[in-house]
Amino acid sequence: MVNWVVSKMAEGNGDDRNVVIEVRNLKKYFELHVGMFKFWGEPIYVKAVDGISFKLHEGEILGLVGESGCGKTTTGRLLTRLEDPTAGEVIFQGRNIATLKGKELKEYRRNVQMIFQDPYESLNPRYTVQKTVMEPLLIHGIGETYDDKVELVIKALEDAGLRPAEEYLSRFPHELSGGQRQRVAIARALVLRPKFIVADEPVSMLDVSIRAGVMNLMLDLREKYKIPYVFITHDIAVARYMSDRIAVMYLGRIVEIGETDEVIFNHVHPYTRALISAVPVPDPDHKHGRVEIKGEIPSPINLPPGCRFWPRCPYAQKGICDVKDPPLKEVSPGHFVACHFAEKFMEEEPTEKTVDVS
């Protein structure tokens, strides 16, 4: 993995690498029908994703982190077109995927695969492992004979670390452990050789001892096949381990995006700061300072005007933050922040409003 990272860094910020997928100003509003009020007045929307843009490069893992309700899962579902966007574009191979229909859409679905959170629910309990992993091949008509297909299934299972694969073919999900199930889900995603994978919290249901194995497997597969991932997680320590770049989301927006170490150690946005300071560290000597943020995540129905974070932000200034929506600004190469005071925070460490809890 180290070699891969080094070679990637030699290429500069990676902007010259092939872009696999580009997201431009993507929005998804869910309309709420509240009783009979739907017949008059303005419809009410939940703005799950509200204007996000990013690029995913070849062989890259982009971590999408945020608290529940920040829109990270909806983003994943939009990328795989399990949801249709309200506005904005997802460009794949020069085409906006929202316009794809019929055969082309099927082709797109072959190129993008998803790994879900709960391997206990994402596998059909009545299908054997072989049937589960072979189904995508049947749908897309890959492999000429039955034996070819079985061979592809075996190859995918071995890639996913289920060896010897023959032993697993006729098993049912209930005969597998959680980690093995998630490996079957990974094999199912891999068997089609997708161009990119959206992994939605793939390890959060797994136990610690098994989680590390699945994460390492995903990193190894990235190295082997250069498949880019969008890795959605609420756990920043996991995101740090897995991703090359991290995008931090808050209420449907990306508030900060950049190289992993930039975001973890040189974060600028007050929300990122608060989020990272809240992550517990497995070290009893670690002195835990805490950036206080007020209240809880507001409902995405009644969004505050201006910057979405200002009602909770300890540095918010009246007249600026509650009026104008901050755009994403580049503060250092490849590192973007959506905050009015980004430059100021870059220069001077903001006076830490921390509470000593030791």
Partner: protein, 344 residues
């Protein structure tokens, strides 16, 4: 510090149609007043059964093995509310609704349940549920109880006017706070917190943990913090007990567990955990999966997955060795491995 709870050789087994599940086997530890102990392990390692075994809130197929002791403030809770099972020799059955035991539950030992989301009854107001708990155990009027709830709400940081709300009107973090208020309602000596923040977002988790640490210090209650999250115990606990497959494999102060690791499983657990601090290192997965507790391995239960295992590990159950005062490990090669294992 005064000793509050002493668990000796606690074994809790579940009877199932095909035999026994050895969920907890020979667990011993002590907790002093005002101290936090972290009980860590993966799912199925028996940490929750241990926690619930203290107050004996266990399913009806749970049996406590003869010889187990849970001495709480001088009283053996096992002797108090269990009787020798007629069906199974060497086991004791838990007597439900034992009047003496009820004096301990909530009044002396309260709990914060896993998933506070579901711990409240959705059709009763949150405040009423806490008032009910107070009225059940204490001889006070309803007004006095309500006053107490108001104080508690202030303590945990929920506005007073939310007392008459229903659980669905609370956010996840608030439900958790209300749960903490309820646990503190009767000034217990010990709180058993079972995964108190697992379902919460990091920012909320951080705040709740901070709150718990503060209240615990202030009220001087002891706490058992049951969790799978190594980093949470690192932050909260004075002492840590690591469990694996029903056994307590290592026990010591937080520093000892993290910096002077003495058991291979603890080492493996720490190495499998990603951190946000320090250098990024490749995580080490533990090969294999935890054993089936209906049919545990003969020798050391971790031996099949242990990188240091030798023949003896597969044959003989390892002894409990005190490697330094208060720091205990259950491993054949404790002395050889001590100092060799790096938690970091």
């Amino acid at each position: 510090m005064a000793e509050l709870l002493k668990i000796e050789n606690l074994s809790i087994h579940y009877k199932i149609s095909t035999g026994w599940v050895y969920a907890v086997d020979g667990v011993s530890f002590t907790i002093n007043r005002g101290e936090t102990m972290g009980l860590v392990g993966e799912s199925g390692c028996g940490k929750t059964t241990t926690g619930y075994g203290i107050t004996q809130l266990l399913p009806s197929n749970a049996y406590i093995k003869e010889g187990s002791k849970v001495i709480f403030d001088g009283t053996d809770l096992v002797q108090l509310s269990t009787f020798p099972s007629k069906k199974f020799e060497g086991y004791r059955k838990i007597e439900e609704y034992h009047p003496e035991m009820r004096k301990f539950r909530w009044k002396r030992i309260s709990m914060i349940f896993q998933g506070a989301m579901n711990a409240f009854n959705p059709v009763y107001k949150v405040g009423d549920q806490i008032i009910e708990a107070i009225l059940t155990h204490e001889n006070v009027t309803e007004e006095e109880a309500r006053k107490r709830v108001e104080e508690l709400y202030k303590l945990v940081g929920i506005p007073k006017d939310r007392i008459d709300n229903y659980p669905h009107e609370y956010s996840g973090g608030m439900k958790q706070r209300a749960m903490i208020a309820m646990a503190l309602a009767l000034n217990p000596d010990l709180i058993i917190a079972d995964e108190p923040t697992t379902a919460l977002d990091v920012v909320t988790q951080d705040r709740i943990l901070g709150e718990m640490a503060r209240l615990q210090k202030r009220e001087n209650v002891a706490m058992i913090l049951i969790t799978h999250d190594v980093s949470v115990v690192a932050e909260m606990a004075h002492h840590i007990a690591v469990m694996y497959a029903g056994n307590l494999v290592e026990k010591g102060t937080a520093r000892e567990i993290f910096k002077e690791t003495a058991h291979p499983y603890t080492e493996a657990l720490l190495k499998a955990f990603p951190s946000i601090k320090g250098e990024k290192k490749r995580l080490k997965a533990i090969p294999g999966s935890p054993p089936d507790l209906a049919n545990p391995p003969k020798g050391c239960r971790f031996a099949p997955r242990c990188p240091y295992a030798k023949d003896i590990c597969l044959e003989q159950e390892p002894p409990v060795i005190e490697i330094s005062p208060g720091h205990v490990t259950k491993c054949h090669f404790a002395e050889e491995l001590y100092g060799e294992l790096g938690g970091e």
